[in-house]
Structure formats: structure tokens, C-alpha cells
Assembly symmetry: C2
Homo-oligomer: 330 residues x 2
């Protein structure tokens, strides 16, 4: 947390009634001016005030007063010391105090979010597939490479272990064994002696778990050799030693686009007991059919059905893994 | 998402080298000015530029250029329409485009976070115990009351079901059965015929799960009747019908501070097979001993040991529930 970055802090007040914008400005002005900050005020006719406060050290604050009763404070400062954090907190404490004096009990809600660290060496913010903001306790960039297909990052989190992030989407953490188990049928399937086809799955988690269950043969088709290279080195809790070789007694890994492979198998009449689709949510393919994500998913499903035995089973994620991670617990 | 709130968007650029602040400003100025925004520029001697752009409709933007090679854009607008989101996105797209033209490949990282919604009717941001920012997909405030001890909120999330939040700390979601099972010993304990004491646990989850296992007697000591009232109505997936009555065939719920109860039991020689400490991370107590959180925890532990049989077991959370929810999966 002491790493160099811009620290952006926010403090929001929802008032119980419309605001006398000028009174709020007058009450808070001294708090900023006591810090030696210089003020610039913009006054809209119908939209309230924006006051900007600038400090000599490069920090600045915005005070935005909306007349319907919303007061938003932003404070941005660049520093690599804990001291900056304390100064910011003290200033925001004073603003909060002054606002409470001014409005007595008539503030509906006060909200101070954890400061957002911007431009630091390590990016802590990895939104979910449904666009929610989530901060991780990342303390190390373990791997960061561009393959011909995607950006591959492996970041270490104190809480979740190493996390695989493909082109910005959180794919799997070392702590996500439950995801792997879920997509395998939650322990209710008997893989012994079975023929299994895994589409994608470059982190090796599914392959590692299924190989333990004595299948006849598992074929995994992963497009990106570099995902395998990164994971076999840094996601060993997920994949064990299964990616150390692309061939084992009861498994093989093909480094190929799965669409032509599925077509070939369909043509040859090669059939499987299980097809497990572990492709990324935003598909990567070298095939021209990929007009849209949904068409791609339908194509994968159609082709999978062609290589599935009469009583075979098809497993896929119905949600992003990040959601799975939680829904698993229901 | 279409509810009335201020939408605060950010767009950050980490450059590959130090920045010519003036060149960046000159390149981006037109993007804002084309929107009819008026500019105010502050130029520090050693700390770069801050440009503020103001639009007639009450929106504004900050462009902060740090000379060591960091460019941060903030855009704040108040609206209750999707249109505002699209306009913001278009403006940020243009900024990104212009920056990429200016620096060609020499931008190390571009980061655009999901917009933060500020001052809306429903608060979506509930930080973790370790201070990380997390946004939930809250769509309804189900319950929001102040008890004599704390603020009690139950919020509905599409993903997690109803979530119990005590004084701002996420306590338990209806999807968190795994947490309840973990604190009960992960299914490895035999509660049949046993005497069990639960400290706290007002959501009723532990009580409900243990009662199913035919214990001799479970005593739950919860300080806050209002937590029970809220949970028995809105967290039924967690507590079933167990909180409908404070007494059942094999359980009783005492609405009391657990410290005097523990002291009384210790004095009486009342002994238990299991003590399960499910108190909130920040303790609530009416007892004077509570000088600090750690002293409180030690006191609870000391007293618990006094009421525990020789071969009895003490379970507690070693981490906040929010962490548990994930660590459970390891």
C-alpha cells in the first residue's frame, strides 16, 4: 500500500433535503483553506457549485454541491508515503465534522469509500464479468506476457493465491477448486474408464482433477501454448504436474483451435462420454465463423453434440467464473 | 443502473516515460472543448497540470497530468438516464483514442474502471473487512433500521440473495451456507446429543443447521433482538423457521449480552460440548471490560474455556466472513 500511486479519496453526503449550496460552500471553504489550498469556484445557474482546491504539493480537491441535496468531495494526491494517507483522512474527517455541525441530524447518508489507487505498479482492480468493481489484495505481478491470442497475467493475492487473468478477465484463482469441481459435475460423475474432451482449460485444473479419477483418455484442446506455460509454472496448486508434459498415460493436450479439431472428430466419428467446455467467456478462435459471441457458442455446442455419445454429457459454465466462485456456495 | 445518481468515471494512462505535460494538455483540450466544456488550467511548477472542464448541464471533468508519466481523467455527471452513460463513454473513448495517437505504442497501461455511482438511493459499495472496495449488485433495500446497538441492513443482491450488513460490515449472505458449515467444523463434528453454546449468531444460520443434527440442547446468546426480527423475516434461507420462537424442543435463544451469561454459567458450573463464537468482528458489549477489541476477544475466549467440557471444542472465525466465503473453497 506504500507503493507510489495517486490516491483518489471520496466522501459523499446525501442530505435529507435540498441544499443551500452557498451555505455548504461557506461552511467547508475554511477546511480547505486552512490547508493552504487555493480555491476556484464555478457556480451554475441551476446545477449548484463546483469548488476546486489546489495545494502546492500537487494535491487537489473537488467539492461538488448539487442543489437537490448531494455533496461530493474528491481528493487526489500522489505519494509514496503513509503520511499522505493520514493527511487525507484528517482533511476528510474535518469535512465530515463540519457537515455534521451544519446539518445536525439531517444527513441521510455519509459514504467514504476505500481510496482508489491509480497508476501504481500493481493493478488491484479487476471488475467482474457483469461490470462490478472489485479490488483484490494483489501484492505481486507473477507473470505478464502477450501471446498471439491474448494478454496473460498471473497475479498473486494474499487471499486467493495466484490468479489467472486473460485479457483483463479474471479466469481462475488457485483457491477456485470449487469452480473446477462444479464444471466437472460437482463430484457426482464417474469418470473412470471414460473418454473425455476438454475445450480450452489451459490452466490445467480440470485435466488434473479428472486424471486422478482414472479415465480411459482425456483430450484437452487449448489454443494458447503460453497460457499453459504460465500456468504450469505459477498455478501449480491448480494443475499439479499435469501440464509438465503434453502427453501422459491417459491424457493428451493439443495446442490447437478447438473448432477444426471438433470438425475433424465429427468427421472421423470419434465419440466422447464427456465434453467439458471451459473456453473463455469472450471467445478466441482463428475460425471465420465467429461472427458474434453467441454464434460462436452455438457453433461450439452444435459441434460438441456431434462428438458426444448417446448417453454422453456436456458441461459448461453458465456464468463467469467469478460469479461461479460465489454461486457454488448455494 | 438507471436510478438517479452521480456517475463518476475514471480513465487512467501510465506512460512509458515522463510526460511533456503541455503536449498532453494541447492534445486533449479539443476533445473537451468540442463538447462545449469551458476550461480552467492550473500549472504547478514541479507537479504538472490540472485542467478542469465544465459543461453547462452540470457535468465536469478533471484532467490531471503528472510529469513522471501518469495522466488521470475524472468525469462526473448527474443523471437518471442511460443517455448520460453513453455520452460519458464516448468522451472517454475519444480521450483514449487521442492519447494513443499521441503516444503510439508508448503507453504502458490504460485503465478504465466501472463508473462509481454516488448518492443513489441504493448503496452498492460494501468494503471488505480488510478495506478492499467491492461493488455488489444490490437491487433492493429490504430492511434498514437502527437498533440500540447497531445499524441493521438487509440488502438484496441478484447474485447472493439477501445480505445482512451490521453497521456497514457485510455479515452474511443467504448464499453463505458454506460459512455456517465452516464455523460448525466443516461437517466433521457429531452434534447429536450434545450441549452447544452459540455466542452471537443472530442471523440464525448456525442454530438452524445444528438443530437439524439432533443436539441435546443449543443455547444461543444474541444481544440484539432487532437482528433476530430482521433475519427471521428476510433471511429465511439462512435461518428457516428456527427464529420464529425463542424456544424449541432442543434450543433456546437468550436476548442478552453474552459476557454476563458466560460468567453466570461459569459460576454455576454449567458445561458445554461446543462453544461457537459467531460475534461480529467489531464487538458490541454492554460490559465495562471492553477496553479494546483484542481484550474483548481474550475475555470471550477465557470465559468460553471455563464453560467448555474437558473434551469440548471451541469454534470461531479467524477471519471476516467475507474472507471466509472465499477461503472456504481452498
Amino acid at each position: 500500500m506504500a507503493a507510489a500511486a495517486a490516491r483518489h479519496s471520496t466522501l459523499d453526503f446525501m442530505l435529507g433535503a435540498t441544499a443551500d449550496c452557498n451555505a455548504v460552500l461557506k461552511a467547508l471553504q475554511p477546511v480547505f483553506q486552512e490547508q493552504g489550498m487555493t480555491e476556484t469556484v464555478h457556480n451554475w445557474e441551476d446545477h449548484g457549485y463546483l469548488a476546486t482546491y489546489i495545494q502546492k504539493n500537487g494535491s487537489f480537491a473537488n467539492l461538488r454541491i448539487y442543489p437537490h441535496g448531494l455533496v461530493l468531495v474528491d481528493l487526489q494526491s500522489y505519494n509514496d508515503q503513509t503520511k499522505g494517507k493520514e493527511e487525507t483522512d484528517r482533511l476528510l474527517d474535518k469535512v465530515e465534522e463540519r457537515m455534521k455541525e451544519l446539518f445536525h441530524g439531517n444527513i441521510k447518508r455519509v459514504k467514504r469509500l476505500p481510496a482508489i489507487l491509480r497508476g501504481g505498479a500493481i493493478d488491484r482492480y479487476w471488475p467482474t464479468a457483469d461490470g462490478r468493481l472489485v479490488e483484490y489484495d494483489i501484492d505481486e505481478v507473477v507473470y505478464d506476457e502477450d501471446s498471439p491470442f491474448q494478454n496473460i497475467k498471473i497475479l498473486h493475492s494474499k487471499q486467493f493465491g495466484n490468479i489467472l487473468i486473460l485479457s483483463g478477465d479474471v479466469n481462475l484463482a488457485e483457491s477456485d477448486l470449487a469452480y473446477t469441481q462444479a464444471i466437472m459435475g460437482s463430484g457426482k460423475e464417474n469418470y473412470a474408464g471414460k473418454e473425455v474432451l476438454i475445450l480450452g482449460g489451459g490452466d490445467g485444473g480440470i485435466l488434473y482433477e479428472i486424471v486422478k479419477l482414472k479415465p480411459k483418455m482425456v483430450t484437452m484442446v487449448e489454443i494458447d501454448q503460453m497460457v499453459i506455460d504460465g500456468c504450469k509454472k505459477y498455478m501449480r496448486k491448480t494443475c499439479g504436474d499435469v501440464l509438465d508434459n503434453l502427453k501422459g498415460e491417459c491424457y493428451q493436450v493439443l495446442i490447437e483451435d478447438c473448432i477444426p479439431v471438433l470438425k475433424r472428430y465429427a468427421k472421423e466419428g470419434r465419440m466422447f462420454d464427456y465434453v467439458i467446455n471451459d473456453l473463455t467467456a469472450v471467445p478466441i478462435s482463428t475460425s471465420p465463423e465467429e461472427d458474434s459471441t453467441w454464434e460462436f457458442l452455438r457453433l461450439i455446442l452444435d459441434l460438441s453434440m456431434k462428438v458426444l455419445k448417446q448417453d454422453g454429457k456436456y458441461f459448461t459454465q453458465i456464468l463467469q467464473k467469478d460469479s461461479w466462485r460465489k454461486l457454488m456456495l448455494e
